[in-house]
Structures are given as structure tokens and as C-alpha cells.
């Protein structure tokens, strides 16, 4: 304690100390409360991430636990391998084929479930059933359906007089098959999230719109979609993370699990696994993990910007200025690019 304080009367000093302690308590207690999570996060989350970065700069022998420092060699090796670029192509292709139809379907199903229908809870719970199924089980069933010669889909196609599709030979066909599995599993999950967001939109907007003579589709486009903005951004970002890490489905798509003889459905996560656990090259696998991390960050950011730009925040604007009409002419694209908080001011 500084010396000039000691000349103050005892009572004052006591209360000053107490005050100090109280202030300290108010300031630091929240940090103490949240500390356990962050301590565990540092041990189980941050440390492995850092350790991966260290290993990615080495030629690592996992069994003996030793490595030789090689700098950024592993990164160059990954980026100069043709397989990596094929894996990137496949990942992006499967990502687009799964995310876009999935979100469109999820919004439409959620809108349908948002209406007054009988046995609402039953229907709402039903859409979540595929999500509960183990991905490996889903992959097994779908692999059977997409068998090249005796699979269900091709049997149907040939019976209808069409030619069968080479599901395990043509890259695009394999991407469609894998995206189907992903969609099957995740559409219901996204539906429920979007449904929850839809229910938070005040019903008065719809009533006002009905009075104004807007039809169901117009209401959907001008009230529901803008009202979902924040949730949509969340769903898009989580789908991006999941989509770029797609692993279970391509791994289970055939019995060898290596992504096809011509790397038709090799994704980056699968490639990473093959290098790490197939060739025991953990240095290169670690480098790939960091590249994948950077990629997800990049695509996630792009998605965030695009989604914020595309979906206007009309509902929020209406909430702030209740006097304004619900249905307004669309803003120009120039306006859309501006951050919404600013645009609404």
C-alpha cells in the first residue's frame, strides 16, 4: 500500500480497502467464473492446434515421437501434389451440391411446418429423425442404393428404360450420391433451426401484409426470409464448416475408403486422413489441417458477406420504424453491400 494512504484515518482506510476489494471482486469474478471453460479449452483445444502447427513444420515419426525440422516443406509438398487440387475440387463440388439444395429445402419445409397443421409436433420431430441416425449407418444404406451394377437406383433406372449411372466412376455422379447422403442427414436439422427462427417473427407482420393484400409467396419472400437473416447467416456458416470437412460419407462410400481409384470423391478431410493414418506422414497431414483451416476461414468469410448482402434485414427495419410500410421497393444492389446497421440508420 502506498505510504501516503497510511496517514488517513483508520476507518476511512478500512472502507477504502473494502471498496477496493469490492471493485476487484466485481471486475474479476466474471473472469473466474468463466475460467474453467477457458482452461480446459487451452488444454484440449488450443494446445493441440498449436502442436499441430509445430508438427506441420517437421518430418514427424509418430511411433518414435521424434521429428526433424523441415520448415515449410510440408506445405509446399501439399500444395504441389495434384491430388490436393483434385481433393479441393471435389470438396467444393460436394459442398455446393449439399449446402445449396439443403438450405433451400430446409427453408421451404420450415415454412410448411410453420403453418397451422394437424399433429404439428409429430411432423416437426419427424424431420429430425435422419439427423439422429449414425452417419455410418446412413452411408451404408445409401452405398447399397448407389451400387453400380445391382444397386437400387440403377435397377430402377434400367427398369424405366434409362441407362444406369456409373456412381463410382464418374466424379460428378459420385458427388451427387455423396451430397444426397449429406442432405438426407442435415436438412432436418437446419429445418428445425430455421423453424424456430420463423416462429420468432411477429405474426402482426403477416396480418398487416394480408390486409395489404400480399399473397403467401410475397409474404414468404418479404417477411419470412428477411426475418431469418441472422439465423440464415448462422446456418450458412455452420454448413460451410461442416461441408468443407465432409469425411464420413465419402469415407464410407466404398469399401476401401480412400476416395476412389481416380480420386473421384477424395475430399480434403479424407485426403488428410489417408496421409496421416494411411501413410503415417503426420507432418504433411498437419500441414494439410492448417491449409484446411485457412480455407474454411476464407470460405466462411465470403459466405458471411454474401449472405448479409443478399438477405435484407427488412423485418428489423420495420421493428425499428413501425410507421413504415412493410412492403417496400427493393434496395439497389449498391445499398445491399452496406452494413445493415448503417443502412437502417
Amino acid at each position: 500500500m502506498p505510504s501516503h494512504r497510511s496517514i488517513l484515518p483508520q476507518r476511512n482506510g478500512d472502507s477504502a480497502l473494502r471498496e477496493k476489494l469490492t471493485r476487484w471482486d466485481v471486475k474479476s469474478a466474471p473472469y473466474l467464473y468463466i475460467a474453467p471453460f477457458f482452461l480446459i479449452f487451452v488444454a484440449t483445444g488450443l494446445f493441440p492446434i498449436g502442436y499441430t502447427a509445430v508438427i506441420s513444420l517437421m518430418e514427424w515419426d509418430m511411433v518414435r515421437g521424434t521429428g526433424e525440422f523441415v520448415g515449410f516443406d510440408q506445405y509446399w509438398r501439399v500444395l504441389s501434389a495434384p491430388d490436393f487440387w483434385i481433393a479441393l475440387r471435389n470438396t467444393v463440388s460436394i459442398f455446393l451440391l449439399s449446402t445449396i439444395p439443403q438450405l433451400v429445402a430446409a427453408i421451404i419445409i420450415a415454412a410448411a411446418l410453420d403453418r397451422n397443421i394437424r399433429a404439428r409436433t409429430f411432423w416437426r420431430m419427424s424431420v429430425l429423425v435422419p439427423y439422429v441416425m449414425a452417419p455410418v449407418a446412413v452411408a451404408l444404406i445409401f452405398s447399397n442404393m448407389f451400387g453400380d451394377k445391382f444397386g437400387l437406383v440403377n435397377s430402377l433406372l434400367t427398369q424405366l428404360g434409362m441407362t444406369s449411372i456409373p456412381w463410382h466412376t464418374d466424379p460428378f455422379a459420385s458427388h451427387v450420391a455423396i451430397a444426397t447422403m449429406v442432405n438426407f442427414r442435415w436438412t432436418g436439422y437446419n429445418t428445425l433451426i430455421l423453424l424456430a427462427a420463423m416462429q420468432a417473427i411477429p405474426r402482426e407482420y403477416y396480418e398487416a401484409a394480408t390486409v395489404d393484400g400480399a399473397g403467401a409467396i410475397r409474404q414468404f419472400l418479404s417477411i419470412t426470409i428477411p426475418g431469418l437473416r441472422g439465423t440464415l447467416i448462422f446456418v450458412v456458416v455452420t454448413s460451410t464448416i461442416g461441408g468443407l470437412q465432409v469425411f464420413d460419407e465419402p469415407r464410407m462410400y466404398d469399401h476401401t475408403g480412400t476416395g476412389g481409384p481416380d480420386n473421384q470423391w477424395l475430399t480434403i478431410a479424407l485426403y488428410l486422413y489417408n496421409v496421416g493414418w494411411g501413410e503415417w506422414d503426420f507432418g504433411r497431414a498437419a500441414a494439410m489441417a492448417w491449409i484446411l483451416f485457412a480455407l474454411i476461414l476464407l470460405v466462411g468469410l465470403i459466405n458471411l458477406i454474401v449472405t448479409r448482402g443478399l438477405v435484407r434485414d427488412d423485418a428489423a427495419a420495420v421493428a425499428e420504424n413501425p410507421g413504415r410500410r412493410v412492403l417496400r421497393p427493393r434496395r439497389t444492389t449498391h445499398d445491399n453491400a452496406r452494413p445493415v446497421e448503417e443502412a437502417n440508420r
Binding site: V63, G147, K149, T169, D254, D262, W280
Partner: protein, 422 residues
Amino acid sequence: MVTRKHNIIRFGAGAAAVGLLLTGCAPAAEDDAASGDVTLTVGTFNDSGFADEMFAEYEELNPGVKIVHNKAATTDDARTNFFQKLGKTGLSDIEYVEGDWLPEVMEYADLLAPVPADLKDRWLDWKVEEATDPEGNLIGYGTDIGPLAICYRSDLFEGAGLPTDRDAVAELLGGDWARYFEIGDQYVEATGLPFFDSARGVWQGMINQIAVPYEDPKTGEIIATENDEVRKSYDQLLAASSTQSAHLSQWSTDWYAAMANGGFATMLCPGWMLGVIEGNAKDVTTWDVANVFPNGGGNWGGSYLTVPASGANVEEAQKLADWLTAPEQQLKYFENAGLFPSQVEAMSSPILLEATNPFFNDAPIGQIFSDRAQAVEVAPFKGELYFQVATAMGDAIARVEDGTQDAGASWDQWVEKVNSIE
């Protein structure tokens, strides 16, 4: 209501935390070797044929020994687990290792306890050679081997005007690969149907007859792409497979289905394959096995027991591994799972020689597979990069099979891939 829920959650979290602490901090169970009470763990995968009765028998013979059997679902799981813990702790006292990833294990031979020298004569020479490191230490107790014969559908042979009796088929297919593919041509011409299941499967038979296929045993360098023997076999196989192969990928659902619905007439048959065929074609009565293999004998698969040197009970584990791979026990897992013994003595046992298989038309499988085992002359050299080169080759053949590329282009892409292996 809310409070109660919170209590439950808090209790659950507390219990989980305590559980974590217990498992995290509990020291590995140490056995008191002095008192004679030893717990041995045995890690296996798939159906190793080790029945609980065998372990019970050993426990009875050796009072004070308790055996715990840890089964992994697949060989991949076991392989991952093995390399993850080798050099650290946590492996079972005895670990089951498959021939496919044995070459990778050999790189770390110094981390495994060697088999006592006086036991080496028990096994077939090449079975011992595969698991012997450069210093001459044998690090694996051989369990089974996969001598190759030919399985065929007698009804489909009949339809093509070929002999159906297994001895006549053996005579028909006797010779080299050219002979096998010649009969294949006859079959395809007569029926228009595929003769064998997959080029990749046949490749297993062909490559396992080349003594030095992919790597130089002395330098460890990859010679695969300049190996004339490999190229010749590759061309010969793919020329034939364009008409004769059913173009099925092994272990795929289509492949399994084709065993039942007559999708192909013959396939290469290591002893353990009999169970696969029987399991997938239960209603078919015409599967048979002929005592013949193109170009002599061949081996596909087979496993070893290894004793990690870091284990707490290395000596006791060695005793158990010794017992588990003794002739009597090898015959037991032949009966349990059809795994063919690798022990010289077990091969002449009447139990083995008189064994028949009702599903395969009562074929004398014991006699057939011991003949096939005797016919194996070559044990190919497999170095530490074998797994990667072989995987790339499998992909190359599959690309031709599924029509993505022609044989030449696929070979070139393989060469490129192999050159990038370090």
C-alpha cells in the same frame, strides 16, 4: 421443476468429471509377477479364430495367469491402434498383426520382443523370412497363411461346356497365367459372361509370385515402375480383363451380390475366402474349389502375433504367444475360422488333411490347401513403402476396370503417383 433439472445436470457433470479424473489418473494396473498372478491382454481383430475355450484352457494349464481378449472390429482399427501406441504404452501384451501391414511393422522391429531362436523351425521358411529384421531377429509368431486355390461355379462351367469335376478343372487350369486366361476366353466365347471377379483380385495372385516386385531389398528404393516383370503381368492381366473380368471391386456390395447371382465363374481363393463365399452365397449349391493355381503356388494374407517390448509381462506374453501358435492350437483356429496353419507340423495332421467343406460340395479342403501351401515357392519382398505402392497399383488397375482410362494411361498415372512417394 427448474431446480430439479439443474440438480440432475449438475450431478451428471460432476459424475462425468469424477469419471474423467479416475480414468485419467489411475495408474496402469501393475502385475505382481513375483506372486505369480499375471494378467495378459491379447489384442486381435476380425475373426482370428481364437476361441474363449482356448484361453480358458491356457489359464487352466498355467495357474495364476488370467487372459483378457480385446477384439478390434477391423484390421484398419487394429493397425491404427498399433502404430498409435507402439513406442509408448497401452498396447496389449500380445498384438495380432496382419501380413498386409507387417512391412510397416518391420520398420519398428526393435520395439518388439524377438521370438526365441529355437522356435524358428516350426514355421514355413517364407513365413519366418517375412517377419525377420535385418539383424536376424524374428519378431512375429506366425498364425495362419493364405495359400491360393481356384474357386469356381460348376453349373456355370457346365453351361460353357467345360468340365465340372474338381479334379478335371484342376487339370484344365493347370499351367501358367496364359493358360488361365485362355480358358477364360473359351468361357467368355461360349457364354458371353465374365470369367473372373475382378482384375484387382487376380493381381493379388500375380504380384505375390514376383520375388522382388516393388522395392529393392538392399537399398529400399522403389523399382516398381522400371520392373519388367510387373509391367508384363500388368499388361497380360488387363488385356484379359477387358472381356473376362466382371469389373467388380472386391469387398464391394456388388461383388458380394455377384457371388450369389452368378456374376462370375471363378475367383482366386485363399483358405479364408471360403468363409466369405459361403456367407454371401448361402443358397448356391454349385460353388466348388479346385486344387490348382496358375503358375504354381501363391499366398494371399495371413497374420502374426507380436509381443511389444514395452509390455509389463513380456516373458509371460511370449509363453502365451508360443502356445497360441503351436500346432494343436493352429488346428483349432482352422476348425473355428478356416484359417490355414503356418506350422509345418500342423500341416501333416490328419485333422487337417481329412477336413472337408460341405458347402463346397464336400471338397477335401484340408488336403487341397496343404497341397497349395507346399506349392508356394516365392515370398515377395515387401519393404516399408510396399503398402503405398500397392495401393496406387490397385487404383491404377481399378481405373482400367471401370473404364476411366486405358491400360497405358493408367500405368503412366501410376508411375507419376509412385514417383511422388517419399
